[in-house]
Amino acid sequence: MKDVTYYPGCSLHGTAREYDESFRGVSELLGVNLHELEDWTCCGSTSAHCTDEALAVALPVRNLTIAAKYDREMVIPCVACYSRFKAAAEEAKEHPEYLLSPYEGKVSLRYALDFFCDKPMIEDLKSKKIKPLSGLKVACYYGCLAVRPPKLTGVKLYENPDHMDRLMELLGAEAVDWSYKTDCCGASLVMTRTDIVTNLSQKILGMAIEAGADCIVTGCTMCHANLDTRQAGLTVEGEKREIPVFYFTELMGLAMEHKDVKQWLGRHITDPIKLLSNKGLL
């Protein structure tokens, strides 16, 4: 049993509920004991760092101060939260004046995808009984913050990452090569400049289809929301198309035959169940 602190963040308690459910489900199957951070609050997200530097540091650090009480690493599935935590932890060293109380804790922060791609977790996964995702072609979509900026993420192949691809291949899926792995979907602009997000998302969706993928896999709540919900009017070579978008934890759960997979997938806007039934995977 491995004990970690779990920071869900606001989205995982709302629109990204299936990410929370599948993350918890997969963690349990892999013997990871999640301790949800008590009394956690919002990291401030895009709005804080676009508004005020001190606010963008103080909001995540409030949570880090609580997490520092425990000798555990903190795993964060929402990559937008993760990025804010990593940035704030760095900034807090240089700008203690931004904080109400000093932050001295050295809480080790892990993004859920990186956590599951780590060697010990991969070994644990290999030791489990896996029903291979045979015949499923996936386009691994990392988005921005899972890889950039590399000085925060520590990802070496930040222009052409492959760690999610390798994880998917371990589950028996085929990861297709494509060139939009780290292109931006427009993220939070969806609320204000929906036109930009629809345009960017449909470029990404179209490229995945052209690359021969049956589905897209991501580990970002904003990417998932944008790609899953902005498919109306999507055409590839003049033909109307759609493509399901999974959280990587959902496909891990599917391969490990978690009992709740159907419930997670039932929350998607673009139906993923038909694809999996056709492939004989569900």
Partner: protein, 187 residues
């Protein structure tokens, strides 16, 4: 290297302000335009990222601070990662937004800063973002009630929209953080 060194032009306080607030060496730019070439949202901008850097060097405060560009930037960090001179343009964009909000100039993209302010009000009120309240608060400001209403219903049907906010006990800390921020901004 002294980043705060006086620029070549006299009285270029805008350049000084941006360098001081961002700690980014804007003067290293040689206009290769790699930032703009890789920017996913450049087509919606009124001045391109490389031009933003140049305009800061020229001290054109109002043009930069009232541009659409600083709000359209989605903080994807592609420009910063690819800049051959290690100029953290994404960080400069953050700094420009901060200065713009304090400047009293009209924002080039009205709704985006309104969204951010509603988002922060939501954190102040409930500690965590309750998405339904956030969207309703934002719609009350923009009066665009129909946008994505059908999508909202589809999400609700699938259990993705919570009706009530979660209980929250960190109010004192959050109020303290926001008090410090509001004091800093002279509110």
């Amino acid at each position: 290297m002294n980043l705060n060194e006086a620029p070549s032009k006299t009285n270029n306080s805008f350049l000084e302000d941006v360098i001081k607030a961002s700690n980014v060496n804007i003067q290293a730019c040689y206009q290769c335009q790699k930032c703009s070439a890789g920017c996913p949202v450049v087509s919606a901008m009124d001045i391109m990222p490389n031009q933003v850097v140049r305009q800061i060097q020229y001290g054109r405060r109002e043009k930069v601070l009232s541009s659409k560009t600083i709000w359209i930037c989605a903080s994807c960090h592609t420009c910063s990662v690819r800049c051959p001179n290690d100029i953290d343009i994404a960080k400069v964009m953050d700094t420009l937004r901060h200065i713009s909000l304090k400047s009293g100039l009209k924002a080039g993209e009205g709704e985006i800063p309104i969204f951010h302010s509603v988002f922060l009000d939501s954190i102040k009120a409930t500690g965590r973002i309750h998405e339904l309240s956030l969207i309703l608060r934002f719609k009350l400001k923009t009066r665009d009630f129909l946008k994505d209403a059908a999508l909202g219903w589809e999400m609700f049907r699938r259990g993705k929209i919570k009706i009530l906010p979660q209980s929250f006990t960190g109010g004192r800390d959050i109020k303290g953080i926001f008090r410090a921020y509001e004091k800093g901004r002279g509110i």
